[in-house]
């Protein structure tokens, strides 16, 4: 019975694939590009930035492309349906922009070998499935330098979403950046278990400020923490996009995800027929991450120092995860002079000494 089911499935897959594969792109037709977002495009954070990338693609290619997006797609059984719907409706290049879309993207990619897929922040690849993400931690390290220089209490706050390696790495990079200029700096972490929940993010911000935190950083997508900081008169660091309009006085800078260049190059490759399944993980050097304009109230010396750090990282003279690095238990994780490998960074699940809070296990 199992064999029957398998062959039946294989047959059906081959059939669908053949059917849809036959309808390849013709030169005079615009390339249809699909985007799947986990949040609303109005989050002014993560999904907003991906959508900015989509708009940049439209602007760059004009009527040579037609883009489609589906926003607020839950990570679960629904994602696969949405991705498949994009594939069946003639989209030839599909970007799925959240980790939870990984397995659904893999499944759909198998069924549509002629369609090109790109999944952000995951690790599974296929011949027609590329993966990409940005070295956000480079921005977080530089932001940590700025935060520690501006803090009077040596207490920095961090509103964290989910304890995945990406977020844990961000907290650690922020702390390491802060400690590079202030050995007394500590980072207090609050988990909100959500990517986008203005109510919870605000509560977390209030709780951190009540503990004497005077610079807030966040790895959640709403502007609520920046707004809360603006009201209390403490500093805030925006997430994913420039959030300065939500806190003109408090917004120190933001770690901006800039997907425009990447999306344009991938669409171009798909048009030229040079698209291959790649694994992209770039940072400051490729412009995938940059810092938003600094707050005018920031002293010139601090600005210069932060820019120096950014330049050093861009030129690969400085790696944020250079030893000696101890974890919270005091155990040395990275020896002096060594740096963490990408493989170790990708599965990081421990906090650096100086982080107050724990990684839920």
């Amino acid at each position: 019975m199992k064999i029957l089911r398998r062959t039946g499935l294989a047959l059906a897959l081959a059939l669908t694939a053949g059917l849809w594969g036959a309808g390849g792109a013709r030169a005079d037709e615009p390339l249809k590009v699909g985007f799947v977002y986990v949040g609303p495009i109005g989050d002014h954070g993560y999904s907003y930035q991906h959508n900015q990338g989509r708009l940049a693609v439209e602007k760059h290619f004009g009527d040579k492309v037609k883009t489609t997006y589906v926003e607020n797609v839950p990570e679960g059984a629904d994602a696969e349906r949405v991705i498949r719907q994009l594939a069946t409706s003639g989209h030839q290049l599909i970007f799925t922009t959240s980790f939870g879309f990984m397995n659904p993207t893999v499944k759909v990619a198998k069924q549509f070998p002629k369609v090109k897929f790109e999944h952000a922040t995951g690790y599974r690849r296929a011949p027609n499935l590329a993966i990409y993400t940005a070295r956000f931690y480079e921005g977080r390290y530089a932001a940590g330098v700025a935060a520690a220089r501006m803090s009077k209490t040596h207490r920095l706050g961090y509103i964290a979403s989910f304890p995945i390696p990406e977020v844990v790495r961000g907290v650690n990079a922020f702390l390491l950046g802060a400690r590079s200029v202030d050995p007394k700096a500590e980072v207090r972490v609050v988990w909100v278990n959500s990517w986008f929940d203005p109510g919870k993010e605000r509560e977390a911000a209030e709780a951190l400020m009540a503990q004497g935190v005077d610079v807030l950083a966040q790895h959640t997508d709403s502007a609520a923490p920046v707004q809360a900081a603006e009201e209390k008169g403490v500093w805030a660091i925006g997430q994913s996009s420039d959030m300065s309009r939500f806190g003109p006085k408090s917004h120190l800078t933001a770690i901006v995800n800039d997907w425009s260049g990447y999306y344009i190059s991938r669409v171009q490759a798909a048009m030229d027929g040079t698209w291959t399944s790649t694994d992209t993980w770039k940072g400051f050097d490729a412009g995938m991450v940059h810092l938003a304009p600094f707050n005018p109230a920031m002293p010139a010396a601090v600005k210069a120092d932060v820019l120096k750090v950014v330049a050093a990282i861009t030129e690969k003279k400085l790696h944020p995860f250079t030893g000696p690095i101890k974890d919270q238990s005091g155990k040395e994780r990275v020896a002096a002079g060594q740096t963490l490998s990408d493989a170790e960074l990708l599965k990081m699940n421990w906090f650096v000494e100086g982080v107050v809070g724990s990684v839920p296990h």
Binding site: P40, G76, A77, T88, G100, Y123, F162, N193, P360
Partner: protein
């Protein structure tokens, strides 16, 4: 113009009300889309017809309606008996956890018995979780609306803890997910090449059984009496506690089954978000279906269609999600509003009667 209570529900209106609601939805929805610059006919067509244009579409539709129908039927049993289980989301999650845990424990095993065991674990997980509000209600008179609702958040955190911690996939780079289940623990496809699985067959069976219990059994009679007039029920010697236990366990069990079928069906592993709010949407399905199993199946199909239609409208016409959500809200509003006409009639006279409406 005013509303006047009818002596008994109007049979004509029972049929006319949904039709009226559909007409009002189409008219108002058409206006909404037209006002925003979309072709109203194309928008309505994309929303209601295009998702069901092929076999894949129909299978996705049934797949989406399955958990909603199962959960809503279970909830309706309680709603009939005045037991307000708002905790289906948590019971679904615990069902998924129990099923997923069993599937992972039997990772090395293969055989026909794995899947039934996994699904049974899901039912038991959901029922056990619903037993908590049942104990609290029958022992301590704690309001089950509050306790069951609050337990939802606990269940979601338990799931998050498991997938971030002890059950995390060893090959998953510390990402919050378990291993993919083996074929032995996955529901076979009902239609080859689609995601629709044999679990969908539970819906007609459960609907029929619950309908029989409600309309043909003494237990169903007790539920209704206690639901309508608790005092009359206790004079007749019916046990309210029995009704509470029965409806919570059955409701929790069905929600648990739905959760098990999500993780053993389209998802294939445990992830932090198993349900996109099925436990809450099912409450709407139960009300929309007037707590009748057949009505609920129809309501679940309608709700499922609005989700598929929403995706289709975003993809094909670039209708913003917010507009789609307004439209989805309008559908529910008109359906529930039209139901008023079953119990009330509209009088156009301005005269105020003093002797009441009876």
């Amino acid at each position: 113009m005013r509303l006047e209570a009818r002596l008994e529900p109007s049979r004509a209106m029972m049929v006319a009300a949904p039709l009226l609601a559909v007409a009002a939805t189409l008219a108002a929805g058409g206006l909404l889309f037209a006002a925003l610059g979309f072709d109203p006919l194309a928008a309505l067509f994309t929303f209601f017809v295009s998702p069901l244009g092929d076999l894949t579409g129909v299978s996705e539709w049934l797949l989406k309606a399955t958990p909603l129908a199962l959960i809503a039927i279970g909830l309706a049993l309680g709603f009939r008996g005045n037991v307000w289980n708002i905790g289906a989301e948590g019971q679904l999650t615990m069902g998924a956890v129990a099923a997923g845990g069993t599937a992972l424990a039997l990772y090395e095993a293969s055989g026909f018995w794995v899947l039934p065991l996994v699904l049974t674990a899901g039912v038991l997980g959901g029922a056990a979780y619903a037993a908590l509000p049942a104990v609290l209600r029958t022992r301590f008179h704690a309001n089950e609306i509050l306790t069951s609702l609050m337990l939802n958040y606990v269940a979601i955190l338990v799931l998050a803890w498991l997938v971030h911690g002890p059950w995390r996939s060893p090959e998953g780079y510390n990402f919050p997910e378990t291993r993919m289940f083996t074929d032995a623990a996955l529901l076979p496809a009902l239609i080859e090449g689609t995601r629709l699985h044999v679990g969908a067959l539970f819906v007609p069976v459960v609907a029929l059984v619950v309908w029989a219990v409600l309309s043909r059994s003494f237990l169903g009679f007790q539920i209704k009496v206690i639901g309508l007039t608790p005092a009359a029920g206790s004079y007749a010697g019916f046990s309210p506690n029995r009704v509470i236990w029965f409806s919570l366990l059955v409701g929790g069990g069905l929600a648990g089954l739905a959760g098990a079928m999500e993780v053993c069906g389209p998802i294939g592993q445990l992830v932090p978000s198993v349900s996109p709010g099925y436990g809450y949407t099912a409450i709407i399905a139960a009300f929309l279906g007037r707590s009748h199993p057949l009505g609920i199946v129809l309501a679940a199909l309608l709700l499922a269609l609005t989700y598929l239609g929403g995706d289709a409208a975003q993809i094909a016409l670039a209708v913003p999600l917010a507009v789609i959500q307004v439209f989805q809200g309008m559908i529910l509003f008109f359906l529930l509003a039209a139901d008023v006409l079953i119990r009330y009639r509209v009088r156009f006279s301005a005269r105020v009667q003093t002797g009441g409406t009876r």
